[in-house]
Symmetry: C2
Subunit: 212 residues, 2 copies
């Protein structure tokens, strides 16, 4: 076959990780086999062991690569200073889109059950994913708070709630294979509903229950 033969080392790594992603993210770490990766990829098991040392090493490298990729999308803070609603909608849409990539769905599916076996990986995945997203949104909200656009609330708490909504029931259904990913108008409507809930709440202003 020679898929990995005589290639620059980085390319070879990427090819192996691509095939490994298909296998590990579909079957999970325990059920996945190196043989299955080789079947997809061609070549020899030796190549994988030479490059990654073990099945655990391969999985670790795979998850770390995907977690790193996810970060890059969330890091662009260009939106600072615009209208808070527009910023949240932008951010929420991007976050939903990232979460719905095959890689992120795969990480989410596989890391939970392996959290005890790979505690360091579990922490990395959290921090580079939901943790990073919540931190970024917190900064956005702090600036809106400084401008008086929003209540003097706990921005970190709200940010965490918002990120949780994006990774909410609909996303869970996607990960469980109960529905197709949200796209286009559907995704937009979903994100808007989350943003508007955060911004305006649901209590009618003429209700006696309205506080503050």
């Amino acid at each position: 076959m020679a898929v990995a033969k005589r290639r620059p080392p980085e390319d070879r790594r990427e090819l192996i990780l691509d095939a490994a992603g298909k296998v590990f993210f579909e079957q999970g770490f325990s059920a996945a086999s190196i043989d299955a990766v080789i079947t997809r990829l061609g070549g020899s098991k030796r190549t994988i062991y030479n490059e990654f040392g073990s099945k655990e090493g391969l999985f670790t490298a795979l998850v770390e690569r995907c977690a790193d990729t996810a970060v890059s999308v969330l890091i662009k803070d260009e939106a600072q200073g615009r209208d808070v609603r527009a910023m949240m909608i932008d951010f929420g849409s991007q976050l939903l889109q990232v979460y719905q990539t095959d890689d992120l769905i795969g990480i989410f599916r596989t890391i939970l059950v392996e959290a005890e076996r790979f505690p360091r990986l579990a922490r990395t995945v959290y921090e580079k994913g939901p943790g990073r997203a919540a931190s970024h949104l917190t900064r956005v909200l702090e600036s809106a708070k400084a401008r008086g656009e929003i209540w003097p609330i706990d921005c970190a708490s709200v940010a965490n709630h918002f990120v949780s909504m994006i990774r909410g029931n609909q996303y869970l259904k996607v990960v469980l294979g109960l529905r197709a990913p949200l796209t286009g108008a559907e995704a937009n409507a979903f994100v808007k509903s989350a943003v508007d809930l955060c911004l305006y709440g649901i209590v009618a202003p003429n209700s006696p229950k309205r506080k503050k």
Copy 2:
């Protein structure tokens, strides 16, 4: 050992499922072994195979039992008609508590990666868990809407968002082993922050961004 010897059939099933829960929910379906269950339980593998037929049968029975248990807590609709904030806080607290039981954490950890292998189980888990919770909360919100306490919003959408907040970033950290379960005052504060976000939002009423 004879833990399962000469017991009423229901007791024997329960004992096996208790031990199986410890093993499957800690290791995941693929990594778990029948031998490990037997080590915890004592007795013979034959007992398990006679009762559940296969490893898959045992896992299915385990998950179905836990999903059923979870339902019972969520079904009590006694709160209908009270103040919407009090109802949501009650409901959210109960839901968080249920989610944080070992069984539900275990299901959540293990079912995601096995969703393709057990599609029926995945659907059952969703519907008896988050689906059921959202449906119940939707009814609560509909009644509040009928009383004019809240805006004429899409109650199902809000209910899904709220359930997602409860099963949010903090819960994810618990499942990943990055923090201890939320209890007592911490859980109360968390639920209240989610409820108040839903009810009141974060936009200051004197902000020009306030709509409606």
